[in-house]
């Protein structure tokens, strides 16, 4: 077996500028898509729970399609397919001197659509899990449906939905590696080009694996902190991972 330890450590602790910008792209796209996916997911979840039949059907069809098609296919259809069919082409744009590649925009759209479908199901089940008595109590106090959702139901549902939403974000970060297929220069694509330039495939992809693991681990710790914070709001005594580490 040949393993270039020097190259491995070098890549791990002193990654090249290209690699770091790939890492940055992975994080940026993940965060933006997750935020947009949360907004979309909340809207779709409320549509599915609404009394309006048309809204419910639209939302169900959306979830059915986006959960049933692989993300890779969605990305290719959105970026390459739409352009090839002359329907829509994601153009490069320049915002305050920074060039935003069309592929990046397509990536955010694709990831948001995919993420929104899963998020909507998470939010919907969390809302449904809030006891009926809570809605009744808020109605009896004279809240509108909106106020009840805003002040009573959602704040309680958030606590149930944080763990699955956190997992969804981890999945999303790992899924960004698929963006290499439409030419977004995120961590995976950068790794591929380093690999083909140096032929050190094993070493460099191991480094990339470590970085993905780092991202998901950091997020898991953050998620735990958020869960602890929300539990404290309910008066449940908890010890967080971070505060335990400080003791």
């Amino acid at each position: 077996m040949h393993f270039d330890w020097a190259f491995f450590w070098q890549s791990l602790f002193h990654p090249s500028g290209a690699f770091l910008s790939g890492l940055g792209m992975t994080v940026a796209i993940s965060v933006v898509s997750m935020v947009l996916g949360l907004v979309l997911g909340l809207i779709v979840a409320l549509m599915r729970l609404s009394r309006n039949r048309a809204l419910r059907i639209i939302a169900s069809v959306y979830v059915w399609i986006l959960q049933g098609i692989p993300l890779l296919v969605v990305l290719v259809v959105i970026y390459l397919g739409l352009a090839a069919a002359n329907i829509y082409k994601f153009q490069d744009t320049s915002v305050m001197g920074v060039v935003l590649a069309g592929s990046v925009k397509a990536a955010v759209v694709g990831l948001t659509l995919n993420c929104g479908a899963y998020v909507s199901e998470i939010i919907r089940s969390a809302i449904s899990a809030v006891p009926e008595g809570q809605t009744e109590a808020s109605m009896a106090l004279g809240m509108t449906g909106f106020s009840s959702m805003r002040w009573i139901i959602l704040p309680q549902a958030v606590r149930t939905m944080i763990p699955p939403l956190g997992n969804q974000f981890n999945t999303l970060m790992k899924n960004t590696s698929l963006l290499s297929i439409i030419g977004v220069s995120e961590m995976f694509l950068v790794t591929q080009s380093i690999s083909s330039a140096t032929f050190k495939t094993f070493e460099i992809f191991l480094v990339t694996g470590v970085y993905y693991l780092l991202l998901t681990t950091v997020w898991t710790i953050l998620q735990n902190e958020i869960e602890c914070h929300l539990s404290r709001q309910l008066g449940i005594p908890v010890k967080s991972m971070l505060s335990k580490a400080q003791v």
Binding site: E136, A137, G142, W151
Partner: protein
């Protein structure tokens, strides 16, 4: 649907007229009619399944009903009167009407993500947009009245059932309702906790003159607080009168049967 009708008299706060409620093939309420005067304390008694809770919940339209009319404080619940005098269904108006009616649930239904104090001031501040400082002060006073000034900053899960129910009563009172409805407020409580909740309710009945309609199984409590006891069976009112009349000299055989079982 447009219905015209004569308004109830001034001193009548609740006027239920021929309320019929069906769920599937079950007739839950059969033409229930009842007038409650301002300041009156009415206790609904009867065997389980008689429709007491169902009827109570129709008053603020937590339960919908198939036919009949419900007037509270001179207004038809769930309807708005047009200039022409016709009644039109209006859900937004219903939301406002409910603010005038306090409802206390069997299982308290406190908001678990808020402290006891927040539970009490939340609706006046967030929904009614009243000044916060003033509402918080009032919430503290209400919690003091129900004997919970020490527990204000605790969350519902840190309180006993009796304490939670007293917070729930304070939460309802914070809206200054013209009418308080109690749906088996002590059925989920241990005996010693039942007493603390009943004491609060008795105090409310005797001191504040609030109109109260109470569904309960506490016969002795009913005797003490009620101006009128209403006995229901099979979705109908079968007998009503003062506690002495109904409890000591019941007319209806079903009332006698019921009282023999519970006393």
């Amino acid at each position: 649907m447009i219905v015209q009708n004569k308004l109830p008299a001034e001193d009548v706060i609740v006027s239920a007229r021929d309320i019929c409620m069906t769920r599937g093939d079950n007739k839950i309420l059969r033409n229930v009619s009842m007038d409650v005067r301002r300041g009156e304390v009415v206790v609904l008694l009867g065997p389980s399944g008689a429709g007491k809770t169902s009827f109570l919940r129709t008053i603020n339209l937590l339960n919908s009903f198939e036919s009949g009319e419900m007037f509270v404080d001179g207004h038809r619940m769930g309807y708005k009167k047009t200039k022409a005098g016709a009644y039109m269904r209006d859900n937004h108006h219903l939301t406002e009407q409910r603010r005038n009616i306090g409802f206390v649930f069997q299982h308290f239904n406190l908001f678990p993500h808020m402290t006891a104090l927040e539970n009490v001031w939340h609706t006046p501040v967030r929904i009614m947009k009243q000044p916060k400082a003033q509402c918080v002060e009032e919430a503290k006073k209400l919690l003091q009245q129900v004997g919970l000034s020490e527990k204000m900053d605790l969350h519902p899960r840190e309180l006993s059932g009796g304490q939670q129910q007293r917070v729930a009563i304070a939460r309802a009172l914070a809206m200054h309702p013209a009418l308080m409805l109690f749906d088996e407020p002590t059925s989920a409580l241990d005996p010693e906790m039942t007493i603390e909740v009943l004491n609060v309710m008795q105090h409310l009945a005797s001191e504040s003159g609030t109109t109260m309609i109470i569904v309960t199984h506490e016969i002795e409590f009913a005797r003490k607080v009620a101006d009128r006891i209403v006995i229901m069976a099979d979705g109908q009112i079968i007998e009503q009168g003062t506690p002495e009349e109904v409890l000591d000299a019941p007319n209806h055989p079903r009332t006698r049967e019921f009282l023999a079982k519970v006393v």
